[in-house]
Each structure stands twice: as C-alpha cells, then as structure tokens.
C-alpha cells in the first residue's frame, strides 16, 4: 500500500511538472503570435514603401531592421519567461 501511495505521489508530481511545462510552452506560443503579426505588418509596409520609392530604400531598410529587432524583443521576453518557468 505504501508503494502505491509513493507511486501516486510521484505521478502527481510528474503530472504537475508536465502541466507547468505545457502551460509555459503555450504561453511562449501566445507570446510569439503578437510579434509575428507585428513583424509581418512592419515588413509589408516597408516593402510597399521601397516599391513606391526605391530611392528611399536605404532609410526604409534601416528603420525596418531596427523595428524588426525591437518587435522581436517581445518574443524573446516570452521565451525567457518560458525558460524560467517551463524548463
């Protein structure tokens, strides 16, 4: 009987750990959606601007690259929360 209670306790702990990892993974997935939409919108508008005004491509590419990197920081924050909670 004692072995069964220890086994049940271990299973319960494993289930909790799996639940925490699953929740963290889900949160990371959610955190990556926003930056994905943001980067898509940002690059779409930048490509449109470069197509309309090719002479301004250098300036547009500069701001586009920095915009992408700043937006990506949101996904990285989500990733850091994931590694701190889920791993």
């Amino acid at each position: 009987m004692e072995a069964f209670s220890i086994l049940a306790q271990l299973t319960d702990e494993g289930a909790k750990a799996a639940e925490a990892a699953g929740s963290a993974g889900f949160a990371y997935g959610l955190a990556a959606i926003g930056p994905g939409i943001g980067i898509g919108y940002l690059v779409g508008k930048s490509v449109e601007a470069m197509a309309r005004q090719p002479e301004a491509a250098g300036m547009v590419r500069t701001t586009m690259f920095l915009g992408i990197a700043f937006t990506e920081a949101l996904a990285l924050i989500g990733f850091v929360v994931f590694i701190l909670i889920g791993l």
Binding site: G58, R61, T62, F65, L76
Partner: protein, 148 residues
C-alpha cells in the same frame, strides 16, 4: 494612391545592405560590453552566471547577424523575397535560439535566470545604443557619427 510596380517587386533592392552594417556595429559594441556583462553576471550568479551570460551574449549577437544576413541576401534577389525571408527568418531564428537553450539547459555550468536576463538586457541594450547613432544619421544625413 497607385499600386507599386510589379517589376520593382521582382527586382533586387537598390543600395547597400544597411542591415549588415547596423548588425556589425551592434556586434562590435556587444563585444565591447560582453566582459562587463560577464563580470556583472558572475557577481550576481557566480561562475555559472558568467558562463551563461557569455553564452547568451553570443546567442544575441549571432541572432542579429543571422537576421541581417537573411534580409541582405533576400534583398539582393528580389523585394518580394524580403517579406518571405523576414517572416520565415523570424520563425527559424526563434527556433534556433530555443534549440540552443534546450541543448544546454541541463548543463552544470548554466544558470537559467542569468541566461534569460542577459538575453533581454543585451538585445534591448544594443538596440537602444544603435538607435542613437541611426537617429543621428537619419536626422543629419551628411554627418557620420564617431564609431565606438
């Protein structure tokens, strides 16, 4: 407002690869501040913190270079490809960062709080630092700011 010309979309983007120049600048600055970050992390999280901070700094710098390389490579081919390369590049780079962290998570020398904190601080810090120079360049196009 007229739609962009289709021939412009299928041709390469004019001008130099500014992304590469920006990311190389950030990598140079990152290499300058890396020892400070490693020492700071070592003071807070011990030797594991130092090693994790060094790993995280390397990860952020490689991520910047990879992002710039993908966009520059795509813009040499066509403007339309820039869109695809950026979005798939975002997915690939996030996947690579995750893979790199998953590979070392159980290593004895890793400290996850140090790794996470350094990733965020280095990424945002280098961007804000670079933004200062880019803002000056865009506002005064003829003036080249002094390099660090």
């Amino acid at each position: 407002m007229s739609a962009p010309d289709a021939t412009v979309m299928s041709g390469p983007v004019a001008g130099e690869a500014v992304e590469v120049r920006i990311s190389v600048d950030m990598v140079k600055r990152g290499l300058w501040v890396a020892p400070v970050l490693v020492i700071l992390a070592g003071m807070i999280w011990d030797i594991e913190g130092s090693l994790s901070a060094a790993f995280a700094t390397g990860l952020v710098l490689v991520n910047f270079l990879l992002a710039a390389g993908l966009i520059a490579g795509a813009s040499r081919i066509s403007l339309g490809l820039v869109m695809a390369a950026t979005l798939f590049g975002y997915l690939i780079r996030l996947g690579l960062i995750m893979l790199a962290v998953l590979l070392v998570r159980d290593a004895s020398w890793i400290s996850l709080p140090a790794l996470g904190a350094t990733i965020i601080v280095t990424h945002l810090g280098l961007l804000v630092w670079e933004l200062k120079y880019v803002a000056i360049s865009l506002a005064h196009a003829g003036v080249r700011p002094a390099r660090p």
